[in-house]
Amino acid sequence: MTAVQQAQPNEGYESGAISTADKVKKFVARNGALLGLVVLCIILSIATPAFLTGPNILNVGIQAATVAILAFGQTFVIVAAGIDLSVGSVAAVSSMMVAYTGASMGLPVWLTIIVGLLTGAGFGALSGLANAFLKLPSFIATLAMMSVARGLTLVISDGRPVSTSGMVNFFGSTALGIPVPIVMMVIMGVLAAVILNFTSAGRSMYAVGGNMEASRLSGINVHKTQVMVFVLSGIFAAVAGLVIAGRLHSAQPQAATGYEMDAIASVVIGGASLSGGKGKVSGTFIGAILLAVIRNGLNILNVSSFWQQVVIGLVIAFAVSFDTLRRKEDAH
């Protein structure tokens, strides 16, 4: 029965002094994925000497790169309260278009790369238009697109891999000692961060994801924003497709199958909310690296790939429930 003599002014929820313990708690809660990543790296470094070596770290980076690039694109969509299930298939169809226009039509390589990027943008635009104007939920629109894009990849290639030329293969190579996929990941990450944080288009994505009607009534072009996020997601998928083709020196009809789930998981582990309005490129980056480190670590420790799937699933569930609990606390 405590009887506090003095009434607290009831303004805002952050009244009162914040103790150091609270600050630490807050930091842990807000940077859960990052701390999880650090702890995991420490554990792996102790568990096996093979983890903390230069080549292995570059290896993790290369493994993370394609998923991270897809996830950066996915971040635009999720921030705007949508979801893009088609990114894996779009990556595949874009890279197949690059290889096909080069090998069968004999277009110059620079032009095939542009064709690839336009392919990604085009598929994204279709999903976006269906979402914005036909009012198809993005889950459905991109589920359909996932199947269409994969199917077209198989049609174009007749189900067989098509080899790619030197300039495309550069995207999968190592230049000046640095793997190009990692460079691409950094470039695309910075690009995504700049778009989301500094451009009116990016800020509109947060607004539309936070409250579509309030955004519309504030003069934001909601339809344009909805189409744009999918176009960007498509372009990022095409870039990921280039990296994948570059590493394999060919476009594979089954490339990037299932990658959309890793991309979505990265974004969500990174703290974005599937209901929109929240999400950061830095978070997505940590999410993608975390997934890659787990895979890499389990590989080094000789854990079977079957068990790896179980672990990845649990990590996603844990990370997101942690985040949900944090939000609940914050809302208080």
Partner: protein
């Protein structure tokens, strides 16, 4: 029958004492009104009564014996039921299924539909609701849904009924129905806790009033206490002038609407609003006030007619161009239409100006930030910081943020739709002061409101709408409630029962 007492209860969240030594006694057959502004602690008190929160101090007594109410189930066993503001119903299920939600009568593992139907009919008869029990809940209006909730509570033998703002979403006629049910329940000895923002309802249904302010117990007074006195207890100071309109001299025409028409909803509506003028738009619910305002703003299309702002025509159905022409809208539902609740105050303030002030697609972050801070302090938005989540602000301060958005955009014409809905008495006056500031600077204001005293008190000129038409116009000093109401029903001969809605409840 049961008597429920809270004796000096307190509730602490983190470091703030949300409820501080409050005492309330709910007597059988009496209606106990809880009165206070938003954030005064009413909801917390209710939650302690219903087992959702545990008091951190003081005690709860039932019939004089100290008890603990650890959860909602326990409260139900004590006969305490809450009718929440947001109804706990599954709209897709039928009335009877909702009545028995979570406790379906079964026979051999299967749902016993016959028993369910019979018991559901009995429950509805109890409150005089004549509905087929297999009707889906969603097909009923809010008022009827609420009656079903009350029936459900009574079916579970509730002897203490807590009604959390039950009239907020009801029309006047529906309110009367509710009040007559409450009178019946009183006669049966059910004790009730009643929360409402409508002061006039207190004397109508209440017996005693407990006033809370900032979590503190202010006092318990008879429900017959004059309204002005209640406001004083609630706000802690007397509000001399509820409607502090400072009229200026109207100058040039800022907004001209000419022959605006859309289907049956908007019928050849024409009027002007001059700089320095507040024009009130009165009318019944469904008369077309919101429709006209949204059409002017470009939020909805219209068939024919013209909108001119400061002498220049505005293209129809383009919000962005209407804003550029100098028009802003404070929509009727700020939570769904006015604000991004999860975004910061800064972000909401800058929402309408973010794109127009951007250069080559890049947001003017420093400039916006500076202007957002200036606006927040100019409008005296009370917040922990400009980066605070907007949803954490009080209703009045949220509404100020919506005003601030348009203040930043330097609009010449401000369209207001229910500007003080869900805003406390004290904060309401501050909103009115903002309206005065807009017109003092040469802005024009068009204000639609269901709150007739507000329309009469804050407008310089009143337009009355009826069935999509403008049925009359008068200067505010000649307008009376009777005159306005007569005009409001003038085009309604063919329409169904005229229903006067004076809702100003919150969401």
């Amino acid at each position: 029958m049961t008597q429920l007492s809270l004796v000096g209860v307190s509730k602490i969240f983190g470091s703030s004492k949300v409820v501080d030594r409050v005492s309330v006694t709910v007597e059988p057959g009496k209606v106990h009104v809880l009165l206070g502004e938003n954030g005064a602690g009413k909801s917390t008190v209710i939650k302690m009564m219903s087992g959702i929160y545990q008091p951190d101090g003081g005690r709860i007594e039932i019939d004089g014996k100290e008890v603990r109410i650890p959860n909602v189930d326990a409260a139900r066993r004590f006969g305490i039921a809450v009718i929440h503001q947001e109804l706990n119903m599954v709209p897709e299920l039928s009335i009877m299924e909702n009545l028995f939600l979570g406790a379906l009568p079964t026979k051999g593992g299967f749902v016993d539909r016959a028993t369910m139907k019979r018991k559901a009919r009995e429950a509805l008869t109890l409150i005089g609701l004549n509905e087929d029990v297999s009707t889906p809940m969603g097909a009923l209006g809010v008022a009827r849904q609420q009656m079903v909730e009350i029936a459900k509570a009574l079916m579970q033998d509730a002897s203490i009924l807590i009604l959390d703002e039950p009239t907020a979403a009801l029309t006047r006629k529906e309110c009367e129905q509710l009040f007559s049910i409450m009178a019946d329940l009183k006669a049966k000895g059910v004790g009730m806790v009643f929360i409402s923002h409508h002061l006039d309802e207190i004397a109508r249904v209440g017996d005693v009033v407990t006033v809370l302010r900032d979590g503190q117990y202010v006092g318990t007074v008879p429900a017959s206490t004059p309204e002005a006195e209640l406001v004083k207890l609630m706000v802690g100071r007397s509000i001399e002038n509820q409607y502090p309109r400072v009229a200026g001299k109207p100058s040039k025409v800022m907004l001209k609407v000419d022959g605006l028409t859309r289907g049956d909803e908007i019928n050849s509506v024409s009027f002007e609003v001059r700089a320095g003028e507040v024009v009130g738009l009165a009318g019944l619910v469904g008369a077309g006030r919101t429709e006209v305002i949204r059409a002017i703003f470009g939020a909805d299309p219209y068939d024919s007619g013209n909108v001119t702002v400061d002498g220049k025509p505005v293209p129809k159905a383009s919000i962005a161009r209407t804003i550029v022409a100098g028009v802003g809208l404070v929509p009727e539902d700020r939570r769904d239409q006015g604000l991004i609740l999860d975004a910061s105050v800064a972000e909401n303030l800058g929402l309408a100006t973010m794109i127009p002030t951007s250069r080559m697609g890049f947001v003017d972050r420093n400039g916006q930030r500076k202007r957002e801070k200036e606006t927040a302090s100019k409008l005296r938005i009370r917040m922990a910081s400009i980066d605070q989540r907007t949803g954490a602000l009080s209703g009045g301060n949220q509404q100020k943020a919506v005003f601030g958005k348009w203040s930043m955009a330097k609009v010449k014409v401000l369209l207001l739709d229910e500007p003080t809905r869900g805003v406390d008495v004290g904060a309401r006056v501050e909103i009115y002061e903002l309206i005065n500031e807009v017109t003092a600077k040469g802005g024009a204001v068009l204000m639609a409101s269901s709150d007739l005293p507000e329309v009469l008190g804050m407008s310089d000129r009143v337009l009355v709408m009826s069935n999509g038409h403008i049925s009359g116009e008068m200067p505010a000093n000649e307008a009376t409630q009777e005159k306005v109401m007569a005009l409001a029903v003038s085009h309604m001969q063919e329409a169904a029962t005229p229903e006067i809605n004076e809702n100003k409840g919150e969401h």
